[in-house]
């Protein structure tokens, strides 16, 4: 009798173990292939990086979410990319031009371009991302108003342009202009604890990636899939995501495209060096 009890005790222990294994928090060991093209979701980290390996957020998502990204027809973000394509071909502004008037077919002229953003903008003397480059062309080349943050198709057009780099490894050139100083500043922002909850980006995405925070499986907080299609909120821009993460620490929300967030974009993009551009990625 006694040994029976011992056994069932052991069995119970084994069952608990199995259960724990079921909610295992490790990123999955799978290959992301989008329409037959292999994505790099694990890359050797660049020198000076706190990790050995950088991992795409895709590896941390649930199976159903991961699957949605594997096929363009299933990926709800592709509808936004198509809207972006329409905007690309639409004439606007006093010069009577569309993006296509000067840049022709984005599949040729924009291929691989966004994988190297943010870049140094010698005119503005600060880093420029795709959203701000769109506004620059609208103002200087089209005689059109710049888009307000997240408005009027900014996300869709950005997604369309970034999608032309699908699969290309992210790489930012820190030797241009003052990119290195902006990288340093972005690093400060990344490690600064903010808000009433007193947390930094690193508290969640460096110290705790792989862990669950309530329902959320924490990833490395990589930016290679932005704009990303979030199951909760639809197409979501990078600066919207940054603002959301800062807000969750109960801190003042920084302005989109502010110096702090451009520095952060520069630094966090570098933290994902070598990962494929996945735009539009699917996340929860």
């Amino acid at each position: 009798m006694k040994s029976m009890m011992m056994k069932s005790g052991l069995l119970a222990a084994a069952a608990v173990l199995a259960l724990t294994a079921g909610v295992s928090a490790d990123p999955v060991d799978e290959q992301l292939v989008i329409d037959g093209q292999e994505m790099i979701t694990r890359a050797k980290a660049p020198e000076g990086h706190p990790f050995d390996e950088v991992l795409s957020g895709w590896l941390y998502r649930e199976a159903e979410t991961r699957k949605l990204e594997e096929d363009s027809f299933d990926n709800p973000g592709m509808l936004s990319v198509e809207e972006g394509e329409e905007i690309w071909n639409t004439v606007e502004g006093t010069a009577g031009k569309s993006c296509a008037s000067c840049h022709d077919d984005a599949a040729d002229t924009m291929a691989g371009i966004a994988a190297n953003y943010p870049k140094w903008d010698p005119d503005a003397k600060r880093p420029i991302n795709i959203e701000l480059q769109i506004n620059k062309c609208r103002e200087e080349n089209m005689g059109a108003e710049p888009y307000a943050f997240d408005k009027s198709g900014q996300k869709e057009l950005t997604a369309y342009i970034k999608h032309q780099s699908l699969g290309d490894p992210v790489s930012v050139d820190l030797s241009q202009g003052e990119m290195q100083q902006w990288w340093e500043r972005g690093k400060d922002v990344y490690y600064t604890r903010t808000g009433q909850l007193n947390l930094s980006c690193a508290s969640c995405h460096e110290q705790n990636n792989g862990n669950y925070i309530r329902a959320d499986h924490l990833s490395q907080g990589q930016v290679n899939g932005f704009p990303t299609y979030r199951l909760k909120t639809g197409l979501t821009s990078l600066h919207n995501r940054f603002r959301g993460c800062v807000r969750d620490t109960r801190a003042e929300i920084p302005k989109a495209f502010s110096d702090d967030l451009m520095a952060l974009e520069t630094y966090v993009t570098w933290r994902g060096t070598g990962l494929s551009v996945e735009t539009p990625s699917v996340r929860q």
Partner: protein
């Protein structure tokens, strides 16, 4: 006469409020000793039932965001950022539990990601609505500590 009663009532209500407030140890004056924070922050015994609410609620402690707790297995989604709190009262005395909740940084290391729930040692750029405020009230802390005290194995 009517006037007088109203005034008297108002006076006693405000006295009550002041005395309850005055009894709370302000965040900056909480005394940390070798056994943690042994004195109650309010003088009013903690209510473990409300403490369980503080533990669960996203608006209050949201302890479940980071800690699993077998006893609350009916609640969806337990975090894994911190250790599971099953049997935590066997591991720590009340004074230590109170100290951990008041200001985890004083007990673990500065590096801990556990917020200080009754501390004004906050991060940068605190949003206006939270400035100068602790995450939990003194009584919420007492209540959640009383709840933790029930977690024995």
């Amino acid at each position: 006469m009517r006037r007088w009663t109203t005034l008297a009532v108002a006076a006693s209500v405000s006295m009550l409020a002041t005395s309850a407030f005055a009894a709370d140890v302000p965040p900056k004056e909480v005394a940390f000793g070798d056994d943690g924070v042994t004195a109650s922050l309010t003088g009013t015994p903690g209510d473990p039932k409300h403490g369980a609410e503080v533990f669960k609620s996203r608006k209050l402690g949201n302890c479940l965001a980071c800690h699993a707790n077998e006893e609350m297995s009916g609640e969806l989604f337990h975090g894994t950022v911190g250790p599971a709190l099953d049997g935590v009262a066997d591991r720590y005395d009340e004074g230590y539990l109170r100290a951990i909740v008041v200001n985890a940084k004083a007990i673990f290391t500065e590096e801990t990601v556990m917020p200080g729930f009754y501390s004004l040692d906050l991060g940068a750029d605190v949003a206006e609505e939270f400035q100068g405020k602790t995450i939990l009230s003194a009584q919420d802390v007492e209540d959640v500590v009383a709840y933790l005290e029930t977690l024995k194995e």
